[in-house]
Amino acid sequence: MSAGVNPWRVLVKAILLFSAINVIFAASNPAVGRITLYNRLLPGRLRFPYEQQPMFYDIGYNAPVSEDFDAMFGAHVISAPKPADEYRVILIGDSSTWGTSVQAGDTLAEQINRLDLRTCDGRRVRAYNLGYPLAFLIRDLLVLEKAMDYQPDLALWLITLSTFVPQTAEKEFLAPHAGRYVHLTETYDLSFPHLDGKLHPPSFWERTIIGQRKRLKDIFLVQAYGLLWAATGIDNHEGFSFDGAPPNPDVSSDLHFLEFLPEDRLTPYDLLMLESLSGGYGIVEDIPLVLVNEPIFVASGANSDVRYNGFYPRWAYDGFRQVIVEQASDHGYRFLDYWNSIPPDGFADRNIHRNPAGERRFAELLAPEILELSCP
């Protein structure tokens, strides 16, 4: 070691350098999420990275990068260049679109791809799974807006009652996207009163490397997990939990839907419906956007006269369908209602999550609609 080096000066210089890098990072706000190994060294993921309970030393296949849309989309196969002969269909939605109970290769989007559909002008239909677990309406809008950068030809927005209910977890998800949220609401003249004053752009400190350490760590981790994705084709251990047994046809007699009871008639205003639907159509502009009421498990056993399934009591879901049908009709939205189109043995649970056979059946139902829309 060289003599005459003063360690305190080294320390002071290191602190100054680190501080300067932090300040520059915070001031320039670099899009670190765009740096990705996916679609270059590693195959792009078929759905967004998501892990219910991310683990470190135990087996895991993912790191959640929902704080950074660039990283989410960058890891997705949709970021690969669009082939000239591709008719690109994007699927926006919640956990049932993402495919909580199935592996990445068996989701609705991949089942559509397996049908090998061709448009009337010969283009190959390629569906992209842009769903993300948990039903967040505003998240759907943000994803849809970002997805427009990837040249979709058709957008299918898979909705269900839960999509339209304000949720407490929404704020946590949206906090890192406050800037995008503000842009969305201002551009499309949207208003979500339950979030008024609750989302703020990150402070200077929060934009530093120290403030962003979790996001940065997750971005690095999701690159590392890309090796596992390439090696196994598995992206989530939740998909292993489905044992193939049909769900129990019995449901509880509880009348609650979240905190609501039958006397709380759900109006379009309660459900944030007016804002979001118009926002979605504003985002896509000339590209066809189809609202798809996704299939739900319809129980046939005990208490099935009261509830459809674990999520929805009949009063709430029937009310929702009535409202959404009216809304679609009034505003001329293209609306496909598949709420009871999948039999119970197509579900992995008593809610909305389909098994591979259910995904396949649903894809077959959607295929003619996609082909019709692709051939004006």
Partner: protein, 473 residues
């Protein structure tokens, strides 16, 4: 240990390094407190979080009593260390009454029972020390006890079953997700140090040290949980001559800590997510990808372990103790013998001193010595299998040890065979570089294949992994 614990330990090391007067009792107090702090809890017998570190201290004091020569036994020089240890134990026990600063476990034994037990243990140690005539007997007993506890701890199912049975006997059956495994923080390294001092005492090589020096050596907190394994005579030389840290020392410390933290918490943790596991052996689509996951494991274990060592060495230097290096670019070594001279060096040196050399000497001294090659095979194989078993008593660790033992034997025989037979081109610069490079690659892949046994849970899974790696399935 997480980064928060490591940073706290670095802070304590910095604090310990400030004192040159009264250094021994201060370092002793810090180390004793740290071993209580680091000991993980146990659902079966919660009070073990207290009793296990206490047992560490008690067995260390006992080992000192059994190895200290009469000239170093004086009350005057040893009483302060005894008082420090007593004060730490008392502090830990009293901590539960201060709920706002619960540093140690809240599951502590009842004070009266604890008091009697502690007094009883130290009375016993005193009595054993008083009757010096039976030292050899008690030393042997202690060595056997250390090994017996080692076997118990390294057989997780045995320890788990015993704890579950104890828990059920106490009328509190364990929940399915309870921590039944018995973890004795730092026991492996504790055992190495105690055996080293007892054996050296028996062979007349142990220097005379006082209680503070001995306990400081055994439980020195930077190296307590993950080594390196220092030697007593070297350790006390540093302890006895406190020096102010020079600029070079500070730069060395900074480099060690920065590199250690980076290796452990960036490289190792990143590689951990893509390292080979039982499940991935089945799920990986091709043998090529399984190689990638195996490489990840190979580098993960290196960065993890050498990162911890760097941190320990840095913390040690902060307190004026020059802990020995444990790794010297092992994956760049051109043969397996050199690999084992540069991987976990202090462990291999320990086994060489206390097992390999005595075994070889005894085989050579036998009335009818075995052929040289069989002595080499036996000594290499048994040493490496013992090193394997040190990691855990499972068939996979036996296989891992056997793999390396055979590898060392084959390398030894090959080197012997090739002596004087190397072609002329191998002496050229290019030839030498090619042979060196090929040796590095071959050695690394031999070691990497060995990690299959180390990282996976059973011989069956390891066999499947090997078949897949070799493209057979």
């Amino acid at each position: 240990m997480g980064i928060a614990e490591i940073l706290i330990l670095i802070g304590l090391a910095l604090l310990g390094g400030f004192f040159r007067r009264g250094r021994k009792p201060i370092l002793l107090a810090l180390s004793a407190a740290v071993i209580f702090w680091l000991q993980p809890g146990n659902d079966a017998i919660p009070s073990l979080a207290f009793w296990i570190p206490f047992a560490t201290l008690a067995v260390t004091v006992l080992a000192w009593v059994l190895t200290v020569p009469p000239e170093a036994r004086g009350w005057k020089e040893n009483l302060p260390a005894g008082l420090v240890l007593g004060a730490v134990v008392l502090l830990v026990d009293l901590d539960r009454y201060v709920s706002s600063i619960q540093v140690f476990t809240e599951f502590l034994p009842l004070p009266l029972f604890a008091g009697f037990a502690i007094a009883g243990v130290f009375l016993l140690i005193f009595v054993i020390g008083y009757f010096q005539g039976g030292v050899r007997f008690f030393q042997t007993l202690l060595l056997l006890g250390i090994l017996a506890v080692f076997v118990f701890l390294k057989t997780p199912q045995l320890a788990g079953n015993v704890l579950s049975a104890v828990s059920a006997w106490r009328g509190r059956p364990l929940a399915a997700d309870a921590t039944a495994a018995l973890a004795w923080m730092g026991y492996s390294y504790l055992a190495f140090r105690l055996i080293h001092t007892i054996r050296d005492h028996q062979t007349g090589r142990l220097p005379a040290v006082d209680l503070a020096e001995y306990v400081n050596y055994v439980i020195f907190f930077p190296s307590f949980t993950a080594g390196p394994i220092d030697r007593l005579e070297r350790f006390i030389a540093d302890l006895r001559s406190p020096q102010a840290l020079t600029s070079e020392d500070w730069l060395f410390v900074g480099k060690c800590l920065a590199m250690g933290l980076f290796k452990k918490f960036v490289l190792a943790d990143l590689l951990a997510v893509v390292s080979i596991t039982d499940a991935l052996v089945d799920q990986t689509r091709t043998g090529g990808w399984l190689w990638v996951l195996l490489y990840a494991y190979a580098f993960r274990i290196y960065f993890d372990f050498s990162g911890y060592t760097d941190i320990a060495i840095g913390m040690g230097r902060l307190m004026g103790i020059r802990l020995p290096e444990n790794f010297a670019a092992p994956y760049l070594k051109p043969n397996l013998t050199q690999f084992w001279n540069s991987w976990h060096m202090t462990l291999t040196q320990w086994f060489r001193s206390y097992f390999f050399n005595p075994l070889t000497r005894s085989m050579r001294a036998a009335k009818r010595p075995l052929p040289i090659w069989s002595m080499i095979l036996l000594s290499q194989l048994s040493t490496m299998i013992l090193i394997g078993l040190w990691h855990g008593i499972t068939w996979n660790f036996v296989l891992w040890g056997g793999w390396h033992g055979l590898g060392l034997f084959i390398h030894n025989r090959w080197s012997d065979f090739m002596r004087g037979r190397m072609p002329a081109w191998s002496a050229t610069r290019l030839g030498s570089a090619v042979i060196h490079g090929a040796g590095v690659l071959l050695t690394f892949h031999f070691v990497a294949l060995g990690w299959v046994f180390f990282s996976l849970s059973s011989p069956g899974v390891s066999w499947l992994a090997l078949l897949k790696l070799l493209g057979v399935s």
